[in-house]
């Protein structure tokens, strides 16, 4: 590892530390029992098996959307529709589970596959719009997230709704539920799939022809075009693969033991969380499980804190915001970095004189 990389890692930890410190200050300002709140935030998830289980469960959707965003951002496609793709994936899974009546074993497989397809088609909308009309995928993806929300709500309310509950679907059949891996927790088979997807994302981006094309385009589109790479193909494939992963993520989440019905009547925010995962993983899917573990831990801690103290869960979004700001800030601590590199250069200059 060279100095520059080591420095980036140091800066990342430092950023996380600052974000946590700022959040502690906020907790001190808003809470009547700040010390308890902070202690709960930090140690809460380690208190018992169930809480630790919650951390692992919370990781799963983050790995999916994080990997999806890594792939799209690596190709410099700023498509933020993982949010909507995830939502749609959940709805498709619910529809398959409720309407097809497939046997256990087959039901989740079909549900996940169809959700993947739906995610791909959904995230392809900004891509196709970009290719055919030149519209920026950033804005169009933001719009279709809201379309996904209301379309899913519409389908749920008119075709899947359980009138006795109100705004939720009928109970999902047991045949569609993903099996639990660890007794006493809700850690489910989706974890394995998530890790597999992260591994797939890494191999795809760094070991395949298409992945190379994506990264080349992401770093310098002119260079990629000049080299003979089809930019249209990169735009479409990167966003569709991102969509596939988001769709799978949504379906896995819904079919997990955590949910018994489709009851998502607001966007869940996993698409936005994915951005911090991608930022912390430096666009490498291999590191998304680590980044997801961090965020999941924080979130679990915060929800325990919210349950027992007067600080709300939303503090996590503030921490997330600060981390993104600082980690992405190129110039943050850059003076230190420059001095380090200058020192190295001067040293090698002297070596040159001797030689």
């Amino acid at each position: 590892m060279n100095n520059a990389k080591r420095f980036d890692l140091f800066r990342m930890f430092f950023s996380v530390l600052i974000a946590l410190l700022i959040s502690f200050v906020i907790i001190f300002l808003v809470s009547s029992e700040p010390v308890t709140a902070i202690t709960t935030l930090i140690t809460g998830p380690l208190k018992n098996k169930r809480s630790m289980g919650n951390v692992i469960e919370a990781m799963i959707p983050l790995i999916f959307t994080g990997t999806g965003v890594c792939i799209m951002f690596s190709a410099n496609q700023i498509n933020l529709a993982t949010e909507g793709g995830f939502h749609l994936g959940g709805l498709v899974a619910a529809a398959v589970a409720l309407k097809l009546g497939l046997p256990a074993g087959l039901s989740p497989v079909v549900a996940i596959c169809l959700a993947a397809l739906a995610g791909a088609v959904f995230c392809a909308i900004p891509a196709v719009m970009k290719i055919k009309t030149g519209s920026p995928e950033l804005v169009s993806s933001l719009m279709i997230n809201y379309l996904s929300l209301w379309l899913c709500t519409f389908i749920m309310m008119h075709f899947l709704q359980d009138p006795s509950v109100g705004s939720a679907s009928y109970k999902l059949p047991a045949a569609s539920e993903l099996p639990t891996l660890v007794k006493g927790t809700n850690i489910h088979a989706g974890l394995l799939l998530a890790l597999l997807v992260a591994l797939f994302g890494y191999v795809f981006l760094f070991k395949t022809r298409t992945g190379y094309e994506l990264r080349l385009t992401g770093e310098n589109e002119n260079f990629a075009r000049y080299s003979g790479i089809s930019i249209v193909k990169v735009i479409l494939i990167s966003q569709m693969v991102g969509g596939v992963i988001a769709g799978i993520g949504g379906s896995v989440e819904l079919l997990s033991p955590i949910y018994t019905r489709f009851s998502w009547i607001a966007l869940l925010g996993y698409g936005w969380d994915a951005i911090i995962i991608c930022t912390l993983a430096k666009k490498n899917p291999l590191y998304t499980p680590l980044a997801a573990l961090f965020l999941a831990y924080l979130r679990t801690g915060a929800s325990i804190m919210a349950r027992y103290t007067d600080v709300t869960l939303e503090i996590v979004q503030i921490i997330q915001g600060i981390i993104i700001l600082l980690v992405v800030a190129e110039q943050f601590l850059s003076g230190m970095k420059h001095r380090m590199i200058a020192k190295e250069a001067k040293a090698s200059l002297k070596e040159g004189e001797v030689a």
């Binding site: 070991k207 395949t208 022809r209 298409t210 190379y212 990264r215 080349l216 770093e219 310098n220 002119n222 260079f223 990629a224 075009r225 000049y226 080299s227 003979g228 790479i229 089809s230 850059s334 970095k337 420059h338 590199i341 200058a342 190295e344 250069a345 001067k346 200059l349």
Partner: protein
């Protein structure tokens, strides 16, 4: 004044500047300027001239060293600071806002006001006209900058600096984009400014221009100062020696060309740019294997548009282009490359490489689909790595390993990465656009020799270059491009002088009948 006898207005002492990618651009450079002189700052591309001037103009802050203005130590923190201290700079790439008028560009930042809030446009126009008249610049200040030619844009730049009261004027390679006639006009104006007491720093690597107009010259080589000389006391040979450290080889041992059949055939090609302006005008020519066709011309006369059409980067052209008998109208860039076309792009950083990716990743962008380097899906990483090591050795790319990011390399080494990539596919047609621009002498010579070697091996080479020495010494046939057409074509390069070429480049001369353009 502290220095009575010489009247020194500016001293820069022991300047050191290291960029954050570790490149040492200036290493202990010193320079001093006398009032009312034109002082040349001479050096090859990448010698550190521009960096030194950026330090003086407050764009970069030096890591070590001091600046004295009229004997007083001073620090220049920003361009604004520099301007307020009477330093003006005319950059190599013009610093103008295209959608604004000449007057608006001149008054930008020091706008006259009316009613306290609004810009007084009438006053702005008259002030701009006044300063233009004072220094004998003939310009319509109401025109939008995007509508005026290059030579006038440069005048606007000089006026901008003068309007702000610049005493010291930095001109960064001002003649690079000018025709010889425009250059002469510029020199007359610079002499007038000097006689008015302005001090001018003239950055260049053109020795004849320095001989013609400068009083003293400071010569730089690879980030270091090689001393300051009275121009009249130093010969161009000595200047060149100090600049490059050895005599430049400008003539190559060249065998007679052995043409081996037409490889590139262009017929009635017309290309418009994004603004709808006709840039290539009904152009036809042939290029055979085993020969180098050089295209000279002032930049912006359609060379880029021609090359973009030949390489598939631009698909909206009229006319026909054949590579080895294949009409490429419907071919993708990849398909054109598969006809064994290699392309060295004009600007290596915008389209020639990805600075944030490593050397290996930059060496295979045109051949990763080769079965040698990948299966249907997966890359053959081991083989790619082994080949990278070979290419780095063969092309003398100075680096720590193939894992080093290309952006961390020097300009010459980046160009070698590009050349290694383009040449390693065994091309049948090489399209080289400014292949040695901004690279050190050693790398330039290396690249030129390679081009000749490919020509001798039967490859067709289309060479577009602003470097007249380069086109003269390499070309078998030479064409001059002016306003989208060939104003002159020379089948024997020895038949034409540099002066004559200049007249063709300016459109003063135009061949009625051209021979040897088409082989049929």
């Amino acid at each position: 004044m502290t220095c009575l006898e010489k009247n020194i207005v500016l001293q820069m002492n022991h300047i050191m500047k290291i960029y954050s990618n570790g490149v040492v651009a200036n290493e202990d450079v010193s320079i001093e300027l006398e009032k009312g002189e034109i002082h040349a700052l001479l050096g090859e591309n990448g010698a550190g001239k521009s960096t030194l001037m950026k330090v003086l103009f407050g764009i970069e802050s030096p890591d070590e060293g001091q600046i004295l203005l009229n004997g007083q130590e001073t620090s220049i923190r920003s361009p604004q600071d520099a301007i307020s201290k009477g330093i003006g700079m005319v950059h190599q790439h013009f610093m103008l806002v295209p959608s604004l008028t000449v007057a608006e560009n001149i008054i930008l930042g020091v706008e006259p006001r009316k009613k306290g809030v609004f810009i007084d446009m009438e006053k702005a126009v008259s002030a701009a006209e006044e300063i233009a008249q004072k220094y004998n610049f003939d310009i319509d200040v109401r025109t939008k900058v995007e509508e005026i030619p290059v030579g006038i844009k440069q005048k606007v730049e000089i006026l901008k600096a003068l309007y702000r009261g610049a005493d010291i004027l930095i001109l960064d390679e001002p003649t690079a984009v000018l025709t010889p006639q425009e250059t002469d006009e510029l020199f007359v104006q610079l002499e007038k400014l000097r006689d008015n007491g302005h001090t001018i720093i003239f950055i260049s690597h053109k020795l004849d221009e320095i001989k013609k107009i400068c009083n003293r010259a400071t010569i730089m080589r690879s980030g270091r100062s090689m001393g300051t000389y009275e121009v009249k006391d130093i010969s161009t040979e000595d200047m060149s020696r100090l600049m490059v450290g050895r005599d430049v080889v400008l003539t190559f041992e060249k065998e007679e060309a052995k043409p081996a059949g037409v490889i590139l055939k262009v017929r009635d090609l017309s290309v418009r740019n994004a603004q709808g302006v006709l840039k290539v005008d009904n152009l036809s020519f042939d290029l055979q294997g085993g020969e180098i066709l050089g295209i000279a011309g002032v930049e912006g006369n359609g060379q880029s548009e021609l090359i973009n059409s030949l390489t598939g980067l631009n698909k909206s052209y009229q006319g026909r282009i054949f590579v080895k008998e294949t009409d490429i109208e419907k071919s993708s860039i990849k398909e054109i490359r598969d006809l064994s076309v290699a392309h060295i792009p004009e600007d290596r950083m915008t389209s020639g490489c990805a600075g944030n990716l490593n050397i290996l990743e930059n060496l295979f962008s045109n051949q990763y689909t080769d079965p040698e380097y990948s299966g249907k899906m997966l890359l053959k990483v081991k083989r790619i790595q082994a080949r990278s090591v070979e290419l780095i050795k063969e092309y003398l790319i100075k680096c720590r390993s193939f894992r080093q990011n290309v952006g961390m390399l020097s300009g010459g080494n980046i160009q070698k990465v590009i050349v290694a990539r383009e040449f390693s596919t065994g091309p049948g047609l090489i399209i080289a656009n400014q292949p040695t621009r901004g690279v050190d002498v050693g790398a330039a010579e290396f690249i030129r020799k390679r081009l000749l070697a490919f020509r001798d091996a039967g490859c067709a080479v289309l060479l577009v270059s602003a470097d007249l020495n380069e086109v003269f010494s390499l070309s078998d046939r030479l064409a001059v491009m002016y306003k989208g057409k060939f104003s002159g074509v020379f089948t024997n390069v020895a038949d034409v002088t540099e002066e004559e070429l200049g007249q063709y480049m300016l459109g003063l001369k135009h061949q009625e009948e051209q021979e040897g353009v088409i082989y049929e």
